[in-house]
Amino acid sequence: MDTIYALATARGRAGVAVIRISGPMAHAAAERLTGPLPEHGRGLRLVRDAAGEVLDEALVLTFAEGRSFTGARVVELHLHGSRAVIDVVLKELADAPELRMAQAGEFTRQALESGRLDLSQVEGLADLVDAETEAQRRQAMRVMAGGLGQKADLWKRDLLRAMALLEAVIDFADEDVPVDVTPEVTATLRRCQQAMQTEMDGVSAAERIRDGFEVAIIGAPNMGKSTLLNHLAGREAAIISDVPGTTRDVIEVRMDLKGLPVTLLDTAGLRESTDAVEAIGIARARQRAKDADVRVHLVLPEDFSQTAQGPNDIVRVGRSDRYDIDIEGVSGLTGEGVDRLLTEISERLAARTLGAGVAIRERHREALSAGIDHLDRCLALVSGMSETLDLAAEELRLAVRALDTLVGRVDVEDILGEIFSSFCIGK
């Protein structure tokens, strides 16, 4: 049985997000992120990436074999429900060799296979999978209209052509087929692979368009971050007080900024703190800020010129109503500079959407990445058409199989059809 994982809660913003891992290797895979886990139990764990950096703190539930919903060993990571956290943890899991992403309904299928479901539950499940499939179909239709369909068609044509060439050389060696198909296979696969790479690079931007951008407001305590947020939100989202460190967690407000879905984040004042709860808030704020699409830094006038300005950083003097200076500032209290700030944010975000590809699902990204890897190996094996042609063909088959959620299934009949229409077979 494979060990599979997926986000079990609805995508998008929520208080808690649950990532479920199910299968014989569930504990081992989760322990890379969390350190040792009990066979069956629960605990609070820091979730770290491979480099040891803390991604989040999570409530972790573990289930021994035979005692979980799927019947297999299960680990559930209950994370903070932010997109950034979810994405980074999912990416970590995607890199784990013992895991693969679950297909629609697959957890329940595991449950069925291990005899955890009765017949009426099976029927309910079938309905669910049907609905899910229908939702995916509709989703796919939307994506198709958006252009992935056309691109995938081109990839499919290229892959099919390359397969037909390789298979023709293999299966019709004694016939009137070209002896060396390396140049055409190589050129076709390179072109296809490059287009996929471009598409994959655009995935994250495309996901942003779907899930929304994050804009973090950061700065030292009491720089007027929460006041600015409340001004923008038009309601008291964050508790404002003059006591530094009032905002102990990340506060967020969703808004539509010139047509782009944006979540504004008010982060806890960034400073060292001895208060344990505040320290967690600060760590989280740093992480969120790091991952945000645009960071608005609120600073004192004297720090303005020294604050780093990357392409995603906007620096403003905070609480500008207090100063009479000729540096760009913003004040949540008076509204001064707010319009200019919003315009600049939307311009920065709009620039980021330009690179957006049309592959929009994490699943697509995984498929593309696996496909590209197999094509790499195929290209290496095919060069010289040496004694490894059978392995080259195998890598190409694996690539096509990895991509079948994108390009659709390629059947042996498709390949034979391409061969028979291209070459005069029949000596």
Binding site: A104, A126, D130, E167, L391, I425
Partner: protein, 618 residues
């Protein structure tokens, strides 16, 4: 009639029939092979070659089950070639040119030696059916022969029509009568039938060919046999020759297209895309100025030559003029004209995995009647059907052929789940587990199962065990020897010379390392014989891929193991769409795996079937 009751009756003495009869009798079933003309047993009615890509794999599998085709072909082989010698062991296919007469004689000699087999000459007029089950046949002379099961291997004899240009004649192949009465009987079973066509070229008189002007194609210097039992050719070896069609030939063909049976609309069946007639080639690939034609001698003591590549249904005079326009054939004499043949086949989706008709228990079908083409495809089905029928009658566990372990399994599964739209021929690309289904390991995949089923004799079994011992010993030796990476790198292996030493097996897995290189470094490896060494290299090369394929194979096997009851009432499963229900009702898949390959099957549908399968098991 001396014997009137048998365990198994095989109808038809073609390539499917002989293997079916042979394997059933090897398993201990008293078997009757009924053919219209005993003298035609073992006739190669198309080209005089056996094996090739995919096909060579099938012959090796027949041989691994102790079947006849490989041994007989080796005895008759007059030119041996291993195709794809340089493209990786998984896609190498052994092939040979056979002397027709030697082949036929050897086949008849081998059959005559089989104790439990009687060969009966006669025309099967009807099938005996008792309470639904087939229990024998009636011959035209009124004789009734009873048996526990009947294997039909009647090839193209079902409503066969020959076409020579506009002229048509009923018949299975030149000189034989088509069996229309049996066809009518089979039609009455109400099965779905289809119509196919195939063609054959003219036969030439080799003494009228100017060989001196032609490019010759000799066999391999290091010939590879079809049977695991043989290691060298038995007959004298010869070369084939190659000539080409040209513009003049194409012009003649184009000018006479209307006279071709295929192109004048006289033929309704579909022909194979991989074996088009020369008319098709000229029309479909109009930009090609020339097509190659292989001149294959049909034997050592005959002058007949088979010109492979120009099958045709043009009238004789046209055939003569386009053939004579080719280099070396300017003065050639045609011994027998080319013709097209049309015939009925039974939609193989009516069969179960034993090749038994689902609706007619006791009746097994094998060969061209199932929509396939080729001696090898026919022989392989004959083995499968004969073994399954014998196992049923003798009440033994049948041999199970799976996509994961044999080309025979791939072919049967393709036939019974996908059906046929053109004559079905094996290609290696049909096998998703191609890397593990190699010609060199057919015995490792099948011989043990064959032994359990009782079709492997002691001689082959002890040879097989000796081979397995050699492999095992070689593997252990390689595993125990260490090779310094620097040593390997020096000889051209692409690896980091500072890494820890590799075992012999690990080293062999590297592309640049071959057995000879290791032998250079460590001469204790000379204990391993060259044949075993080649195979160890293949297994090492594919090890990483095989692990992945094993995982895939495991999930296929799991789904194949989830059986669906034959009498499952699909209308009682709520939630199945009408379309799926009707497909399931007509196909009656045996397992979840088979159901999953039905076109249009959905994940939700499979889940419902799994529920039903579990309920049935409970």
């Amino acid at each position: 009639m001396k014997h009137e009751t048998y365990d198994i009756i095989v109808v038809g003495g073609g390539h499917a029939g002989v293997e079916a009869a042979a394997i059933a009798s090897r398993m201990g079933a008293r078997t009757a092979l009924i053919t219209m003309k005993a003298a035609t047993i073992g006739v190669m009615s198309c080209n005089p070659a056996i094996g090739g890509l995919g096909k060579g794999h099938l012959v090796r599998e027949i041989d691994a089950l102790d079947g006849l085709m490989g041994r007989v072909a080796d005895a008759a082989g007059i030119q041996f070639r291993l195709l794809n010698r340089k493209k990786g062991p998984a896609v190498q296919g052994p092939r040979l040119q056979a002397d027709r007469k030697l082949y036929q004689n050897e086949m008849q000699r081998q059959l005559a030696q089989i104790e439990l087999l009687d060969i009966i000459e006669g025309e099967v007029f009807d099938l005996v059916q008792e309470s639904g089950r087939i229990s024998g046949v009636d011959l035209q002379d009124g004789t009734r022969i009873r048996a526990g099961a009947v294997v039909l291997t009647t090839g193209t004899f079902l409503r066969g029509i020959l076409h020579f240009g506009a002229e048509t004649r009923a018949g299975g192949r030149m000189g034989d009568d088509a069996s229309n009465r049996l066809a009518d009987r089979i039609m009455n079973f109400g099965m779905q039938m289809g119509r196919l066509k195939t063609g054959t070229p003219a036969r030439l008189n080799g003494r009228t060919i100017d060989w001196s002007r032609l490019e010759l194609q000799p066999g391999d210097d290091d010939p590879v046999m079809l049977s695991f039992l043989n290691d060298r050719p038995q007959a004298r070896q010869i070369s084939c020759a190659i000539t080409h069609t040209n513009e003049a030939a194409h012009e003649i063909i184009r000018a006479n297209l209307a006279k071709s049976a295929m192109h004048s609309g006289n033929i309704t069946g579909s022909g194979p895309r991989y074996c088009p007639s020369i008319e098709d080639k000229v029309v479909r690939f109009a930009e090609k100025e020339s097509h190659q034609v292989f001149l294959e001698p049909e034997g050592l003591d005959t002058d007949t030559v088979y010109p492979n590549g120009i099958s045709t249904s043009l009238p004789l005079d046209v055939q003569e003029s386009f053939i004579r326009s080719m280099l070396g054939l300017e003065n050639v004499e045609i011994e027998q004209p080319g013709y097209a043949i049309e015939y009925d086949f039974i939609d193989p989706r009516a069969l179960n995995a034993s090749l038994e008709l689902k609706e007619v228990p006791g009746l097994y079908l094998a060969g061209q009647i199932n929509g396939t083409t080729g001696y090898e495809e026919a022989g392989a089905q004959g083995c499968a059907a004969g073994a399954a029928a014998a196992a049923a009658v003798l009440q033994r566990e049948p041999i199970s052929f799976s996509r994961t372990s044999s080309y025979i399994g791939v072919m049967i599964d393709d036939l019974i789940t996908r059906g046929v739209t053109e004559p079905y021929r094996m290609f290696t690309s049909r096998a998703e587990f191609r890397l593990s289904l190699r010609a060199d390991n057919a015995d490792q995949r099948l011989t043990e199962a064959g032994r359990a089923a009782g079709c492997i004799d002691d001689m082959r079994w002890s040879l097989f065990q000796a081979k397995m011992d050699r492999l095992q010993a070689g593997q252990s030796l390689l595993e125990s020897r260490k090779f310094a990476t620097a040593e390997l790198a020096k000889r051209g292996a692409k690896l980091n010379p500072d890494r820890r030493a590799k075992t012999g097996l690990e080293a062999l897995a590297l592309t640049e390392v071959d057995f000879g290189m290791l032998l250079d470094i460590d001469e204790t490896l000379s204990q391993i014989d060259p044949v075993t060494a080649v195979q160890l290299k293949s297994e090492a090369t594919y090890a990483a891929y095989l692990q992945r394929q094993d995982r895939d194979a495991e999930s296929i096997r799991r789904d194949e193991g989830r059986l669906l009851p034959a009498d499952l009432n699909y209308s009682e499963i709520p939630g199945l769409s009408t379309e799926l229900r009707s497909k399931l009702e007509s196909r009656r898949p045996r397992s979840i795996g088979e159901a999953g390959r039905i076109e249009g099957m959905t994940a939700a549908g499979l889940l419902l079937l799994m529920g039903a399968s579990r309920r049935a098991a409970a």
